[in-house]
């Protein structure tokens, strides 16, 4: 039976069918749903780890123990986990280990558009790249077989347009192989698993030799194949780009690569001998193109297609026409219009607790080093109350550095609860240890909201929503040694302001936990307030909190009751007391 599945659902299904028993991940768009879906299959262990490095170590441990394991993450997650990737390639694994990693060309929800295929080459780790959900399902199993055959981790690369697209998948009643009846004994082999220099030196040649063998094996893998067509034009492509190219060059001869590293050189040469011109259709970096050029094979690629952003059939067609590869298609006349269509930038939800916090921070003119999460939207106008955002966990170190750089401004770091547990603890230790005076605000909404409300160690629930130990950030920071710690609901803006001022004046390093549950996750809603048209002088001060239900009209401001969450923040900021709670 065919079933529509997203790429992420298919990855999870493939992992289940292939007998993966341990899965660990930290959420990150567009990868998050992989582990969520996997956790719902029977007989598997799945976890949200505090960060990607931990998740990869967990999967590596399971694979050392002979169990099939999976770790999944978004592209930048592999930056965090990369140290572990490199050692795991050296030690190799016993049970299959697959790392599913999702890139985000165009940065739909990311801070950069790094091309993680480069990690395959860098870490000397084989990489597969499925092009639709059916392949996503199958490639997980193929990756695990490859992993066990060559005793190496294998990366499966996804992109937003695979992870979040739905395509038909063959779905059956098949079940995974049963687990071993007796738990096996762990095979102790320090020479292999203890990467001290002497052992690592012995492992490195094994890694190089293994890569050569995998490249030879790639020649025989059915996921790399030639699709015969008109040999005047030979297209090489992989992943979703293959489908865009099929739309644009329906008659060309294709080389579709299911494995993008290492490459099957003989197959590529055979293809090159056969076709007149080779064109490589690949998003982001010229990863395949450079390898072909190193082989001395002439190919076109980045002279036709851009290195930035995401491809689409429209883009591939336009570039192909420009390069003279295909005739100009018949198309309706271009639409010329100067109609103003104001953009709709992402915004904090009506009722979001982060908004109250940023309102107070802005009113006090504080310099805010930020981090990544819903609260990053505090940087957007009209709030405009966040001044740096780099990567997860960066806020605290950057604030400490600014503090040591001795500027006039009051500086605070703001980060979310999930981000704090991901990578905020170490920089906080640094502030204390190195005699910093900066203030850190944990905007604690008890969820990993940005990526879809996943549980984390601070919510007291596991990925399956079972009760578990709760890591309380207040106890944690006190345990580290912070003495100046306050907890406050940012909706109490007077109290919030009082605490903020106190912390800013103090020379002690300090932490404020601004706690208000994510209203979307907690499904919290109250009756919307109304504007009294007699009292409203249309000053627009309430609009500065940037809450979308507040609409400025000719005479006065109005609250759109359909959008409003009834949180009451606007009621508090209106100087005329014209917004009336109902």
């Amino acid at each position: 039976m065919k079933k529509l599945m997203t790429g992420n659902e298919a990855f999870a299904y493939g992992a289940y069918l292939a007998g993966v028993r341990v899965g660990a991940a930290y959420p990150g768009t567009p990868s998050s749903e992989i582990m969520d879906n996997f956790s719902r299959y029977p007989g598997v262990f799945a976890e949200w780890s505090p960060n990607e490095k931990v998740s990869l170590d967990v999967a590596i441990g399971a694979a050392y123990a002979g169990t099939r394991a999976m770790s999944s993450m978004k592209h930048v997650g592999l930056n965090v986990a990369s140290d572990s990737l490199f050692y795991a390639v050296y030690t190799g694994v016993k049970g299959g280990l697959v790392i599913i990693c999702a890139d985000d060309p165009h940065m739909h929800s990311s801070q950069n558009e790094q091309d993680n295929r480069n990690y395959a080459k860098f870490a000397k780790c084989p990489m597969l790249e499925p092009s639709d959900s059916e392949e996503a399902k199958q490639f997980v199993g193929i990756a695990l077989d490859l992993s066990e055959k060559f005793e190496t981790p294998v990366i499966v690369r996804s992109v937003t347009r695979l992870s979040h697209s739905s395509t038909p998948v063959e779905h059956s009643d098949a079940t995974p192989p049963p687990p071993p009846e007796e738990p096996p004994l762990y095979e102790r082999n320090a020479q292999r698993y203890v990467m001290v220099p002497a052992n690592a030196r012995r492992r490195h040649p094994i890694v190089e030799d293994r890569l050569k063998k995998i490249a030879e094996y790639a020649e025989t893998m059915p996921i790399n194949f030639i699709e015969p067509g008109d040999d005047q034009l030979g297209i090489i492509s992989a992943g979703v780009n293959y489908h865009y190219a099929k739309e644009v060059f329906p008659n060309a001869t294709f080389l579709k690569l299911g494995m993008v590293y290492p490459l099957p050189e003989k197959l590529i040469r055979e293809f090159a001998d056969r076709v007149k011109t080779i064109v490589i259709v690949e998003e982001l970096d010229p990863f395949l193109e450079e390898q072909l050029k190193l082989m001395g094979i002439e190919a076109r690629g980045k002279d036709i297609f851009p290195m930035l952003g995401e491809f689409s059939p429209t883009l591939v067609r336009n570039c192909a026409v420009k390069a003279g590869l295909i005739p100009t298609p018949e198309a309706p006349p271009e639409i010329k219009t100067d109609l103003e269509r104001p953009i709709r930038p992402p915004m904090l939800c009506p009722g979001c607790g982060h908004r109250a916090l940023f309102h107070v921070l802005r009113e006090n003119g504080v310099l805010v080093t930020g981090d990544i999460g819903c609260y990053t939207l505090g940087a957007a106008p009209p709030l405009a109350a966040m001044h740096t955002t780099g990567c997860m966990g960066a806020s605290i170190g950057v604030a400490h550095g600014i503090d040591k750089g001795n500027v006039k401004d009051d500086v605070v770091a703001v980060l979310g609860d999930s981000t704090f547990l991901h990578s905020g603890i170490h920089p906080l230790i640094d502030v204390l240890y190195n005699q910093g005076t900066s203030t850190t605000i944990i905007s604690d909404n008890s969820a990993t909201a940005m990526t879809g409300f996943q549980e984390h160690p601070g919510t007291g629930k596991t990925i399956k929503k079972d009760e578990t130990a709760l890591v309380d950030p207040e106890k944690l920071v006190r345990g580290i040694g912070f003495e100046k710690v306050d907890v406050c609901d940012p909706y109490d803006i007077d109290q919030m302001e009082k605490i903020l001022k106190d912390h800013l004046q103090s020379d002690m390093p300090s932490v404020i936990i601004a706690r208000h549950p994510c209203v979307l996750n907690a499904k919290e809603k109250h009756t919307p307030p109304e504007v009294d048209p007699e009292l409203c002088i249309n000053c627009g001060i309430c609009l500065d909190i940037g809450c979308s239900p507040l609409i400025q009209e000719e005479e006065h401001v109005r609250v759109d009751a359909l959008l409003c969450n009834g949180c009451g923040l606007c009621v508090k900021v209106c100087p005329q007391e014209a917004i009336i709670e109902k």
């Binding site: 395509t167 915004m347 939800c349």
Partner: protein, 194 residues
């Protein structure tokens, strides 16, 4: 088998994604090869959400191509107005007669285009722009979040397929508590184009 390309455009929280899931599933039930792509942007609510659905005998790309879309379904007026270049000549646009102001408009710093301007922009490609009181109808039935199903009802008359097939998929895909209400919303939507 005709290839049909759909583009659905709305604002986060309007249920664009559920509607496109239903549309994709209906295509599969009707025997098409189906692909669907969407981006849920960075914000959980309030941002632009667009979803591509393709029905065909063989579909490669999950993304629709400019100049090729048969049906543009706008869940919000301005969102529909962003995509005229995707329409093929003779396409149909179904637009929910509903406006959600972008922040700049709320702040009085930008203008929301008029209904007439939006209509004439879409008509530079489309044969027809059908306005649907989607949110109005859904609200009357008790839940504005059903606007997607109302829009699907209006769309279903145009693309064909047995009414029962649509209703069955809706029954499978909306929360069990709301099945009857959603079916009703779908049938109300059908009346708009029926």
């Amino acid at each position: 088998m005709n290839n049909l390309d759909f583009l659905m455009a709305g604002v986060g929280g309007q249920g664009t994604i559920l509607a496109s899931n239903i549309l994709a599933e209906v295509g599969l039930q009707l025997g098409y090869d189906v692909k669907k792509a969407e981006v849920h942007g960075m914000a959980q609510r309030g941002g632009e959400v667009d979803s591509h659905v393709r029905w065909g005998s063989k579909v490669y790309s999950p993304l629709v191509e400019e100049n090729n879309v048969d049906y543009l379904v706008g869940f919000e007026m301005l969102e529909a107005a962003r995509f005229p270049q995707y329409l093929k000549e003779g396409a149909v646009s179904l637009v929910n007669d509903y406006r959600i102001n972008p922040p700049l408009v709320n702040l009085g710093k930008a203008q929301y285009p008029s209904k007439k301007e939006i209509e004439s922009l879409l008509l530079s490609r489309a044969d027809k722009v059908i306005w649907v009181e989607g949110t109005g109808i859904a609200k009357e039935l008790g839940n504005p979040a059903m606007v997607g199903v109302v829009m699907l009802g209006a769309l279903s008359n145009l693309v064909g397929g047995d009414k029962e097939a649509w209703l069955e998929v809706i029954g499978q895909m909306v929360p069990p508590k709301f099945v009857d209400l959603n079916k009703e919303a779908f049938l109300e939507g059908r009346k708009v184009t029926g």
